[in-house]
């Protein structure tokens, strides 16, 4: 007879079934409370509406979650202070995507099934967007993504929205910046991670197209303990500027070794260089003084004097309870974009007179598009008041105007920013012609 060491097969199977049933029931009971989750019923009267921060909080991209949270919580604060949306308070809910598709898919499905008041999603970064955006599309829940992947440049997903320009445009802008700054000998240095590889091809092709000399082109395997041979090769090539994007650790390791070998040339970077973790790591590697002198960040043009930006930073600094050390995010473009995303969702709900995602999704472009007679607003409170007065509105956010095209992509202008005296300041704005020359379009 078979022996099972005192354990009964039926007992174990029962325990397993029970455990899984509890998990399933957790989802079922939550979703059944307010009816069908698919199609997003919004919330019951007076109940809080949820916006999920669906990003990586663990794994290699663990910075994505806190970065998005720094945009969501200030928006939550301002929306609730203005009386909420159609009588509902708003709540940001962090959900860990873990940064990989295999973990993100069940996490997204669980989130959709378990939350009856989910009205919108911030997330689906470059690490998971292609696998989870279709799930939100199926559930008819608007998702504002910061992914730069070109797969979404002409997406047919009607619930997908992207405020920031795709990586390809970012790469072209970096090449255009090198030309504008007068550099003729340029090196390309990108990590082999998905985020960096999004902008690398257009940055490299842009450098060539603009007639600059590409003296070195290196792709770094991220997370290595040394890049001495690569740094030596780059130093030998004597570039005047390096067009670069890599994660904080990789950048710090590389440039620490480069600074030991020779001089660190000008760095033409992207919004990653405005992230506190990157600046901290690089400052430690080559010194903050040298970093500030050499770094030219090419970012979406976001005038820091803009009214919406001032409102955002004030709300961010007041959100220290939910956002540790909030000031570190005040120049982070992704955080600013996520703030605008939540405000846009809220205004669209007001305009639609509905918190139902499948209804208000159609109003997102209506509250952001420029139109004759529309009242330009920079805050949720102003937009809500204008809508209540029966006016049409155009929300101009902290990242600037948000004019979505037919594929729900809102393009940006780009600017070169320098860090000085604890703040980022626009050094010069790149014209559309300059970027077109780099992209060839």
């Amino acid at each position: 007879m078979p022996r099972h060491g005192g354990f009964k097969v039926a007992g174990v199977a029962g325990a397993l079934a029970g455990a899984l049933a509890i998990a399933a029931c957790g989802a079922t009971s939550a979703s059944s409370t307010a009816g069908a989750a698919t199609g997003g019923s919004g919330a019951s009267k007076g109940g809080a509406l949820e916006v999920a921060i669906f990003h990586a909080y663990s794994g290699p991209n663990a910075a994505y979650g806190p970065e998005a949270a720094a945009g969501c919580y200030p928006a939550e604060r301002l929306i609730n202070a203005a009386g909420g949306i159609l009588g509902h308070q708003l709540a940001c809910t962090p959900v860990d995507s873990k940064g990989d598709p295999a973990d993100a898919v069940p996490a997204a499905n669980r989130m959709i099934a378990a939350s009856s008041s989910l009205v919108g999603v911030l997330g689906g970064g470059s690490d998971t967007a292609t696998s989870v955006v279709p799930l939100f599309e199926q559930a008819q829940i608007p998702v504002f993504s910061t992914t730069g992947q070109s797969a979404f440049d002409r997406t047919g997903d009607s619930y997908f929205w992207r405020i920031l320009s795709p990586d390809a445009a970012q790469g072209s802008a970096m090449a255009a910046a090198a030309k504008k700054l007068g550099f003729t000998r340029v090196a390309a240095l990108f990590g082999n991670d998905s985020a960096a590889q999004g902008s690398a091809p257009t940055a490299i092709s842009g450098v060539r197209r603009l007639g600059l000399s590409l003296v070195a082109n290196q792709t770094l395997a991220v997370g290595q303990t040394s890049y001495r041979s690569e740094a030596q090769a780059l130093s030998t090539a004597k570039p005047q500027a390096i067009v670069t994007e890599a994660d904080p650790q990789t950048s710090a390791t590389y440039f620490s070794e480069l600074s030991q070998i020779g001089q660190v040339p000008a760095l033409i970077t992207d919004p990653v260089s405005q992230e506190p973790t990157w600046r901290k790591a690089m400052g430690g590697a080559i010194g903050t003084g040298l970093l500030d002198r050499q770094d030219y960040a090419v970012v979406a043009y976001s005038p820091t004097t803009a009214p919406a930006y001032k409102v955002y930073t004030a709300a961010l600094l007041a959100s220290a309870k939910q956002v540790p050390q909030p000031s570190q995010w005040d120049s982070d473009l992704y955080s600013v974009a996520d703030y605008d995303s939540v405000i846009v969702m809220a205004l669209a709900m007001d305009a639609a007179h509905s918190t139902k995602p499948s209804v208000y999704n159609g109003y997102i472009s209506k509250v952001t598009a420029p139109s004759a007679g529309a009242t330009v607003v920079h805050t949720y409170a102003a937009g809500k008041a204008a809508l209540a007065a029966g006016k049409s509105i155009q929300y101009v956010g902290a990242v600037g105007p948000l004019d979505f095209n037919q594929w729900h992509n809102a393009g940006n202008q780009f600017a070169i920013e320098r860090y000085s005296g604890g703040n980022w300041a626009v050094s010069s704005v790149l014209s559309a012609a300059e970027i077109s020359a780099a992209s060839g379009s």
Binding site: P2, R3, V9, V12, A13, A19, L20, A23, A24, G26, A27, T28, S31, S32, A36, A37, T38, G39, Y57, S58, G59, P60, A62, G65, T93, P94, V95, D96, D100, P101, A102, D103, V105, P106, A107, N109, R110, I112, A113, A114, D127, T128, T130, S131, P134, L135, Q138, A139, Q149, S150, A151, D153, R154, N192, D193, S194, Q197, T219, A221, V222
Partner: protein, 336 residues
């Protein structure tokens, strides 16, 4: 039951099936035969990438936003069969390098290195499988079924996974509890004895290594088709240890035990943690999953090394023999 809840349950069922198939593949190698394959996740990845390359069509499609080898569009189930073949072939190559000449502890070290190197290669060689961004828009075979709603298509895919799990499960029973299975267990328990009986232990290890690799590839192929994407972040080397924990918790060499262990560890822990009332801090939840997985491994190795459902051993009546004084006879226990 809402559509969203149905979809969530379908996801759980697919993950249970996929992880059971993968865990059986590892159990065949580690549990039954004693091969410490710390590169197991590599074969799951090989299956996922292969099925993507055999179903996505040319790389120039979809705007050419991703780069990869091959790029053909084969009908279901050819991409899955192709994935299994590639998984088996890759296993044969790795097995030929590691299994013939190295002692088991060195085999384990080499496997771990192979897994790490493979990830770095996949991330660095962009033309291989689109680098770190990985491959996306992988077609789900059920989506090609005309006239079915999306929800029904999902359940069709659940059915495909269930059939695969059933077939692999029956294969495992047939294999493990056959005379050949005894050779495999003999290889694990006492290799010199097996060799003395005229069996080739190295060949047996090689055979299960290839078969286990094919099963790993099958699980990867199904998973990639379900989630529609596959990237290096999905198959970092620690993922292998989740499957090891599943085998240890369920019971090494026990087909039913490993299925239970897989469902509990690979799916149950991940889902159950989400319902813990610890404030919803996502960072803590992610850490907790790994902590629980590690603790389960240690706990079972310490307290119940045979697992929840131990490997079955058959007992035969004692053969006729000459009883020594004081010998009361009884039964002898042998492997099934």
């Amino acid at each position: 039951m809402s559509a969203a809840t149905q979809y969530y349950i379908a996801t759980i069922l697919v993950y249970i099936a996929v992880n059971a198939i993968a865990s059986w593949g590892l159990d065949l190698q580690f549990g039954v035969t004693g091969v410490l394959n710390f590169a197991f996740i590599l074969f799951q990845a090989a299956g996922a990438y292969t099925t993507a390359m055999l179903s996505l069509g040319p790389a120039s499609g979809n705007g050419g936003f991703q780069r990869y080898l091959v790029g053909v569009h084969l009908p279901f189930p050819l991409p899955i069969l192709g994935a299994m073949l590639v998984g088996a072939a890759l296993s044969a190559v790795v097995g030929l390098i590691t299994l013939r000449r190295l002692r088991s502890d060195y085999q384990a070290m080499v496997m771990l290195v192979v897994s790490v190197v493979a990830t770095v290669v996949a991330e660095s060689v962009l033309g291989l499988a689109n680098g770190s961004a990985g491959l996306s828009l992988i077609p789900n075979p059920a989506e090609g079924l005309a006239g079915l709603a999306r929800q029904a298509q999902t359940w069709v895919f659940v059915g495909i996974c269930a059939v695969c799990m059933l077939v692999v499960g029956l294969l495992m029973y047939a294999l493990v509890y056959s005379p050949y299975g005894r050779v495999l267990r003999g290889t694990r328990e006492n290799e010199p004895a097996i060799e003395a009986m005229g069996r080739n232990a190295t060949r047996a290890r090689m055979q299960v290594f290839v078969l286990g690799g094919a099963l790993g590839a099958l699980s990867g192929a199904l998973l990639a088709e379900f989630i529609g994407a596959w990237a290096p972040s999905d198959w970092l080397y620690p993922e292998t240890f989740v499957f090891f924990t599943a085998v240890i918790v369920g019971g090494r060499g026990s087909v039913s035990g490993v299925a239970v262990g897989s469902a509990l560890v690979c799916v149950g822990v991940q889902q159950a943690v989400q319902y813990l009332p610890i404030g919803g801090d996502p960072t803590v939840l992610a850490s907790l999953e790994w902590i629980i997985t590690g603790l389960l491994t240690m706990l079972f190795l310490w307290v119940r090394p045979q697992g929840l459902l131990p490997e079955r051993r058959r007992r035969f009546p004692a053969a006729e023999r000459v009883l020594a004084p004081g010998d009361v006879g009884g039964a002898v226990e042998v492997d099934a």
